[in-house]
């Protein structure tokens, strides 16, 4: 198994962004929330790499301090959808009958709401915040994870080693946790990796719409939304977080597709939605 170069490059970029996000709050050159009236709307310079915003805050420091939001929303939300979706899918595949019927009809129902709308619906009635956006995005992708893990588990349940476990008289939990789960990882990892891009996209879009972290937080989607009144005067306020977001999305996407090509060559080049 040769690891493709694009996967390595993408992985390095994602790793670098994660590292910067983790140590960001300690290495920022300026206090991210500190107002400075005399330094309003300064263009990028040696001192302020990404310029300053309408309150004189250093955009570079803000971008750095806000990086963890996008990562949390992407990885946290996907982890949540895995944590709920995988057990549901496995139970549906194992129990069949009405249990499966109830779970899968619920999934059908959730899938018939457009993702952004489901997120809006959940966030409309609660006070916005990072955790809530993350949970909303995670819930949006539960049905997809349930479908995928059910399909994977159905395939594995027909295998001989499961038959052997049943013959040994193993219980449902043992079969699912010890026999099915370890063998279900490759397709689940692929789906997860591809899902993270969408989770980051959806999370930042919801923040952009004002339903995520609130000011003075420096979530990237929120920063872009706040930069709108100054777009012709000081485009760097929005461009800096936007370009960072694009870099993150493209590299996460490259990693996802690279993993898919590596673990599941049959799906190579197929679109995903």
């Amino acid at each position: 198994m040769r690891i493709p170069r694009t996967l390595i490059v993408g992985g390095l970029v994602v790793g670098a962004i994660c590292l910067l996000a983790a140590i960001g709050p300690w290495i920022v050159p300026f206090e991210p929330d500190a107002f400075s009236v005399r330094e309003r709307l300064l263009p990028p310079s040696a001192e302020h790499w990404f310029g300053t915003d309408e309150f004189g805050r250093d955009v570079f420091s803000r971008v750095l301090a806000g990086a963890h939001h996008s990562l949390l929303m992407g990885f946290g939300a996907t982890a949540l959808s895995l944590a709920i979706g995988v057990p549901l899918g496995m139970i549906a595949a194992f129990r069949r009958g009405w249990t499966e019927e109830v779970i899968m009809r619920g999934v059908d129902l959730m899938i018939s709401i457009p993702p952004v709308l489901l997120g809006l619906l959940i966030l409309a009635v609660t006070d916005p915040g990072l955790m809530k956006t993350m949970i909303a995005v995670g819930l949006v992708y539960v049905p997809i994870m349930t479908r995928v893990s059910r399909a994977v588990a159905l395939g594995l349940l027909a295998e001989d080693f499961v038959e052997a476990a049943r013959a040994r008289g193993e219980g449902a939990f043992h079969i699912l946790a010890r026999e099915i789960l370890p063998n279900a990882w490759p397709p689940l990892i692929v789906e997860t990796a591809l899902r993270i891009t969408f989770a980051i996209l959806l999370g930042s879009a919801l923040s952009f719409l004002g339903l995520g972290p609130q000011p003075p937080d420096s979530e990237w989607g929120l920063m872009i939304a706040e930069s709108r009144p100054f777009i012709s005067e000081a485009p760097w306020i929005g461009l800096a977080p936007g370009l960072c977001l694009c870099l993150l999305l493209i590299s996460v996407n490259i990693v996802g597709e690279g993993l898919r090509d590596l673990l599941d060559p049959r799906l190579r080049g197929r679109g995903h939605g």
Partner: protein
């Protein structure tokens, strides 16, 4: 075929009914009373009682649901709280505006996306195919709201060619003025979707070109053009239809974002307005209308798929 249609139609009806329950439940059962949500946390008890009286919130939940649901069936979406007008006409008007955006976008995505995909698949390895592939990578990953910022920056702020925001009706501004307001929102909406569709068509077209039925058609001595058009293309387009249905969901999300950025008076912007101003009837009505359209679009895609793919008619389960 009739059985398949009836089953699909019934399941759409069920989904729509369940949606009304879900929307109602999320709005009414989640912590925090609707009256508190509307009046804010510092409302007096008397004001809350008065508002609950006016909105019928003091009735049991099942009665409230019943009134709302039967109202929906009669086309009555209740009264908008912030605009003090019936919600239904407001929603309908906004829906018309959004339909313009969505309609133009879908047609563009289908035509441009499929043509680019076919071009790439028939020119594999050439510079145009490589260029398109590279661009697809980029366009799929860039968020719509950032595109909005970029196009406003270039075409409205720097070049000054197009208006950055707003909408003007044909009756006032003429066709040209109307179209000028649509160019930026529509192009923002379609970029990512065109990349998505063209990528899918490219790979499914490549798969079809390498198949045995295409080999057989070539062996018969058919001209390459006929082989591609009559044998490869119809098979390659089937998956595109399914993805086009998925993309309608993405398009709806995009419309919400694009309308709020471009201050375009459609349903997406109204929904964000309703959420920001806690206008519950407007919000619930908007949600129901959008999910209905999404469900119908998916139904249409399933039917189209079944019509084009004879195998599905026998087994009767699409998607």
């Amino acid at each position: 075929m009739a059985g398949f249609l009836a089953r699909r139609f019934l399941s759409v009806l069920f989904v729509l009914w369940a949606m009304t329950v879900l929307v109602f439940a999320i709005v009414h059962i989640l912590p925090g009373s609707v009256a508190h949500m509307i009046l804010g946390e510092f409302a007096t008890d008397a004001a809350i009682v008065e508002l609950e009286e006016r909105l019928g919130l003091n009735q049991p939940l099942y009665l409230q649901y019943w009134h709302w649901f039967t109202g929906l069936l009669r086309g009555d979406f209740g009264q908008s709280l912030t605009m003090e007008r019936p919600a239904a006409p407001l929603i309908l008007e906004a829906l018309g505006k959004s339909a313009i955006l969505a309609g133009i976008s879908i047609v563009l995505v289908a035509i441009v996306g499929i043509s680019l995909g076919i071009h790439s698949a028939t020119h594999v390895g050439t510079w145009s195919d490589r260029g398109l592939t590279l661009m697809q990578y980029f366009f799929i990953a860039v968020p719509e709201f950032f595109w909005c910022i970029l196009v406003i920056l270039f075409f409205a702020a720097w070049l000054g060619w197009l208006p950055a925001t707003g909408y003007s009706p044909i009756s006032e501004a003429g066709i040209l003025g109307w179209a000028r307001h649509l160019i930026l929102p529509v192009s923002t909406l379609v970029l990512g979707l065109i990349a998505h569709i063209s990528r899918l068509v490219r790979s499914s077209m490549l798969e079809a070109i390498e198949s045995r039925y295409v080999l057989a058609a070539r062996a018969k001595g058919l001209p390459e053009r006929i082989v591609l058009r009559r044998h490869a293309l119809p098979n390659a387009l089937l998956p595109a239809i399914t993805i086009l249905a998925v993309d309608i969901g993405i398009l709806i999300g995009g419309i919400v974002v694009v309308e709020s950025v471009f201050a375009y008076p459609g349903l997406g912007r109204m929904l964000i307005y309703a959420i920001d101003n806690q206008d519950v009837p407007l919000m619930m009505g908007g949600m129901i209308v959008i999910t209905t359209i999404y469900a119908l679009a998916n139904l249409a895609a399933d039917i189209l798929y079944a019509v084009l793919n004879p195998r599905i008619r026998v087994s009767g389960t699409a998607g």
